[in-house]
């Protein structure tokens, strides 16, 4: 569904990505793991058009590398950014409305909002509360819910576990698997918590200093001594 070849990104004189290539098949969960500063977030930001990149990005048979972020979202390639970036000054309901900014079908929006509330009942309870008053975990739920209202076919999640209570992390990851199954969503997951990411994904890439160091089926990487030593704390 997504094929990336030789993706380069620079921030001024600093090169962040040195030619990354990866593939995400339709309906799968693929993960990108690696240390801080390895270029995981930059990869996602390049794919959603937030930063300029060179190389080819073929999404759904179409080259999206030159499109603006709002055009990319319109194609169903949605990005839940690092640090959640919910609109703290807007209510939960208004945040979800913004997620559906490009959607015209009121009926679909209402149904999908109900689906999101079913996934995360906490959001329903806090529907009219300012998003800034939510806990970190609830904000992550809102960020995911908001992206689901953009009618995604392909969801990119950046560090959904960052700074969240362990119990909520487990719940959120269960929901991610559920979304993947129920809505048939393809997911590209960026995580520092490699254990968790390898458990729910089928294929994984290990990123280091802007390059792909290793790749393989998640189950294999999980028992790879190199990965275990560097990323799984074993």
């Amino acid at each position: 569904m997504l094929t990336v070849e030789n993706l380069h990104v620079s921030y001024g004189a600093i090169k962040a990505l040195h030619g990354i290539s990866l593939k995400v098949p339709q309906g799968s969960i693929v993960t990108l793991i690696g240390a801080n500063g390895a270029g995981k977030s930059t990869t996602l930001r390049a794919l959603s058009g937030l930063v300029k990149s060179t190389g080819t990005v073929i999404y759904n048979g179409q080259d999206t590398s030159k499109l603006a972020p709002n055009q990319i979202v319109a194609q169903g390639l949605c990005h839940v950014p690092e640090g959640r970036m919910v609109f703290a000054n807007l209510t939960v309901h208004e945040n979800l409305q913004m997620g559906a900014y490009l959607q015209r079908d009121k009926h679909w929006i209402a149904n999908q909002t109900e689906y999101v509330f079913g996934l995360f009942p906490r959001l329903k309870e806090r529907e009219n509360q300012a998003a800034g008053t939510l806990s970190g975990g609830e904000q992550q739920m809102l960020a995911i819910g908001r992206a689901l209202l953009s009618k995604p076919k392909f969801l990119m999640l950046d560090e959904p576990s960052l700074g969240i209570a362990p119990l909520l992390v487990k719940a959120i990851f269960e929901r991610i698997v559920e979304i993947n199954r129920e809505q048939g969503l393809t997911i590209l997951l960026v995580e520092q918590n490699a254990n968790l990411a390898l458990d729910i994904s089928s294929y994984a890439y290990v990123l280091e200093s802007g390059k792909i160091l290793l790749e393989g089926p998640s189950a294999e990487l999980k028992v790879n001594p190199e990965v275990q030593a560097a990323y799984l704390g074993a």
Binding site: L50, H79, M85, F87, M98, Y101, G132, Q139
Partner: protein, 303 residues
């Protein structure tokens, strides 16, 4: 007691105008985090547009007719909205990713460019022009208190516009998008919100308010000239900071307070020449003691 009441009315009339201008400053600050110093010149251009358009409209609708006045206001608001959006497109958008100071200095440059171009004899010229009476002015007498119909009009128009503004910002899709863009442009982009168009819309809305404020301000003062925007512009800027820059109700509160201050200081013989000094003194005090303004909150981001 009469004196107090009289100055309150005068202050409200003036404060309403400041509030309309301050909304433009604060909305632009909200989405782009800089002060659009050319805002006061859009107000001036609004007054001059009305000056040139009013005679033509009056030929069609009759002298000092309500319909004519409304038509002039709508046309002038539309013209100024276009001017505001053009300024943003040409002067500010190319600098979107530059340091805020660059944009701020550019804004001062745009302001000076408009002021001195307008002062050129071939454009408008530096002389004072009498502003046409768009509506017949009446004075209502209650005992010793005199209420001018212009003040009543200004207050009513402002209240209506404030309600419209509140509705747009709080209840419509584009208003929600404005608030979203003001909080986080990148996140808004990821939702598919066309950030440039929303910013353009914000400039248009603010400039339309400035246009109306320009007409109301010109109706109060006998004449107009190319530098007429500076004084109310600065007062409205102080009002926006006083209320909490970026905060819409704050801009209105600040505007009313500053109008009151102008009226009361102006009504006391020994104090009237110091009223600008008092206004700027308040700006300094606010920046020292409560930089977020009366209604502004310093926000904390959760990580």
């Amino acid at each position: 007691m009469d004196w107090l009441f009289q100055q309150t009315i005068n202050g409200l009339g003036l404060g309403a105008i400041y509030a309309l201008i301050a909304l433009g400053y604060t909305m632009v600050y909200g989405v782009l985090r800089f002060i659009n110093f050319a805002h006061s010149d859009v107000l001036m251009l609004g007054a001059f547009s009305a000056y040139y358009i009013a005679p033509k409209i009056e030929k069609m609708c009759g002298n000092q007719s309500v319909l004519g006045c409304i038509m002039v206001s709508i046309i002038v608001a539309a013209i100024c909205a276009c001017i505001g959006m053009t300024i943003e497109r040409l002067a500010y958008r190319p600098l979107r990713n530059r340091p805020k100071l660059t944009v701020l200095i550019t804004a001062i440059g745009v302001s000076l460019l408009i002021q001195y171009t307008a002062q050129n004899e071939k454009v408008i010229g530096a002389t004072q022009l009498p502003f046409p009476q768009l509506l017949p002015e009446k004075a209502f007498q209650f005992g010793k208190i005199v209420i001018s119909s212009n003040d009543v009009l200004t207050i009513c128009v402002t209240i209506v516009l404030l309600i419209v503004m509140w509705f747009i910002v709080q209840k419509t899709r584009v208003g929600t998008a404005m608030r979203a863009v003001s909080f986080n442009q990148q996140a808004a982009l990821l939702m598919g919100v066309p950030v440039n168009r929303i910013i353009s819309f914000t400039f248009g809305l603010g400039s339309a308010l400035a246009a109306i404020a320009g007409i109301l301000y010109a109706m109060k003062s006998p004449s107009i000239e190319p530098l007429m925007g500076t004084q109310p512009g600065l007062k409205a800027f102080i009002a926006a900071v006083l209320g909490g820059i970026g905060n819409l109700p704050g801009a209105v509160l600040g505007g009313v307070l500053l109008g009151m201050l102008d009226a009361f200081a102006g009504g006391i013989p020994g104090l009237s020449s110091y009223r600008d000094a008092i206004a700027f003194g308040i700006l300094i005090l606010i920046l020292l003691l409560k930089p977020a303004g009366l209604l502004g909150r310093s926000t904390i981001e959760k990580v």
